[in-house]
């Protein structure tokens, strides 16, 4: 099976410059600087079908095409390494195992976009990743792979690491830019989009760690090869899937994009723990609506998951066994989102605690049918009315709960207690 991003990964081991180069590292960058024009790289990335791995799944090539690469003056490439969505831990695995992939990916992307300065916005808690990145950057610089006149070419690229101090909203791209500038990280209003007015009010491209780490592989192998790695027709590449929750073998694995949910759970996750049955999962992190065992045949790729009203998100699968109360699980998720709301807009700041309150009432057996109706109404009041996508993502699990588990919710009301509680 094709391993790109985790090719060099071994337990408790970080790949340093020499080992990275022995395994073909920086060949993509060399090839690009010696043989390719920036436009060729942009075309290749577009043709590869790569979609952003940060959660929204927007076409990377298309995003890049909106960028004014010919504009004079400062332009920035920013890597989003906030990674705070519960269930998501892939970027950390990547940086702990093989950090040069990101450094090379950023240098290559910067060359393609005519950018000379890059920032990696990293979560403060990721100490090991921070140490690894500082070393990788220093080593690359020493070897002439970063900094001035890379590999003797005309191209120069400086790379900085900025550490954050832990809030989920910092992953939202415009909040991240405020955070990076040292301001309070509330989201900014769009438009203008970061591509036009981003970091320090200059044109900025923002991409996720996994997205950028894929770029050298696309340049090495070619767009067609990369695209063909996926098991789905329109899909592309591999994906770092997180496996968490009630599985026998949780962890993080690299697999072809589009592997089915069932295969991911049964083969790679080792099946549901303690011999129990699969009840539901979040397919791609905390903000994605649930799936059930009826969806085992669905391909874990952007479009097939949208067709069943959920999202691939960050690819962090969280499994729930048959003893899990879905109201309680949803309440846990909603408490996370309510606590992480930046407080800027009313639907999110006041709406999410309201959802928590109603779910608490239902879970404790005090809920009525009117409360269930209220949940449905709140879904309509919050979705599409918030300033940024945090609140929309937060309502994903509530939407899934009401669509797939309405009977279980009503059962709480009928019985006056949680039907799954062991008394």
């Amino acid at each position: 099976m094709s391993q790109l991003l985790f090719k060099n990964r071994r337990p408790d081991h970080t790949v340093l410059l020499d080992e990275y180069r022995q395994n073909g590292g920086y060949q993509g960058l060399e090839k690009a600087l010696r043989e390719m024009q920036p436009a060729q790289i942009r075309d290749e990335v577009k043709a590869s079908g790569l979609r952003g791995r940060g959660g929204a799944g927007f076409s990377t090539g298309l995003k890049w095409s909106f960028f004014p690469f010919d504009a004079e003056g400062d332009k920035y490439l920013v890597c989003n390494g906030d990674e705070m969505e519960p269930g998501t831990f892939k970027d950390r695995q990547l940086l702990e195992a093989d950090p040069h992939q990101l450094v090379e990916g950023m240098a290559l992307s910067a060359y393609a976009l005519n950018i000379n300065t890059g920032y990696i916005f990293l979560r403060y808690a990721y100490n090991q990743c921070y140490t690894n990145l500082l070393q990788a950057i220093a080593d690359a610089k020493q070897a002439g792979l970063l900094g001035r006149n890379i590999l003797g070419s005309e191209f120069s690229f400086e790379l900085h690491v900025h550490r954050s101090a832990g809030r989920y909203i910092c992953g939202e791209e415009t909040a991240l830019l405020n955070g990076l500038e040292g301001k309070r990280p509330n989201p900014r209003s769009k438009p203008p989009f970061p591509a036009i007015k981003g970091l320090f009010a200059k044109p900025t491209v923002l991409n996720n760690i996994e997205t950028l780490a894929n770029i050298p592989h696309i340049i090495n192998g070619g767009a067609q090869w990369f695209s063909d790695l996926a098991l789905t027709e329109e899909g592309a590449g591999t994906k770092l899937y997180g496996l968490a929750g009630h599985l026998n073998n949780p962890g993080c694995v690299e697999l072809p994009m589009g592997i089915t949910l069932g295969e991911l759970v049964e083969e790679h996750g080792g099946g549901v723990w303690l011999g129990r049955k699969f009840k539901a999962c979040l397919p791609g992190g905390a903000s994605t609506p649930y799936l059930t065992a009826d969806h085992f045949d669905v391909a874990m790729d952007y479009n097939p998951l949208e067709a069943v009203k959920t999202r691939l998100g960050t690819g962090g699968l969280v499994v729930f066994d048959d003893q899990t109360c879905m109201v309680a699980a949803t309440l846990n998720l909603m408490r996370f989102f309510a606590r992480e709301s930046c407080g800027w807009c009313t639907p999110c700041r006041d709406g999410l605690p309201m959802v928590c309150w109603v779910l608490e009432k239902i879970e404790s057996g005090q809920g009525t049918v009117d409360d269930v109706t209220m949940l449905k109404e709140l879904l309509g009041h919050i979705n599409g009315r918030s300033f940024c996508a945090l609140a929309l993502g937060a309502m994903g699990p509530v939407d899934g709960l009401l669509r797939l588990f309405e009977e279980e919710v009503l059962d709480h009301v009928k019985k006056g207690r949680c039907p799954l509680q062991k008394s």
Partner: protein, 162 residues
Amino acid sequence: MSELLSPEEITELKRQIAAVHEPRELIVEVLQAVQKQNGWVSDAGIELAAELLGLSPLQVDEVATFYDKIYRSPVGSKVIHVCDSICCWTRGAEMVYGHLQQALDIAPGETTSDGIFTLLPTCCLGACGNAPSMRIGDRLYSSLTIERIDAILDEERQEALK
């Protein structure tokens, strides 16, 4: 300039501040430096950071109060952040949190009487595949069980008493 940071630390921060695009870019680094030396960031710490960065104390405070890993009230010498997000929840986070409260004899947000541990909940630590997880100071602990928690607390306490 201040007793919160040594003259060497202040010189080093000033050097770093001079090297970046805009001084306030380093606001988190400066606040973390103050916190590292003093355990938390007091009003005097906010004022010092403001002076170093060329900002008003209010501009610094609105950032300091946003992040949950910057403490604006006194904490123990070791802050325990227990993950209560969904993956840890599926694998016993409530048990972990309950046991810590019992073993330390404090409620969330409180500090032990010996001044060593402060207990706080946290969002996902990015260790979901080895849930349940917690962080004590800079150290991440995963795959927690009651026995392991007791051993970890012992070790951390001994280290703090050294």
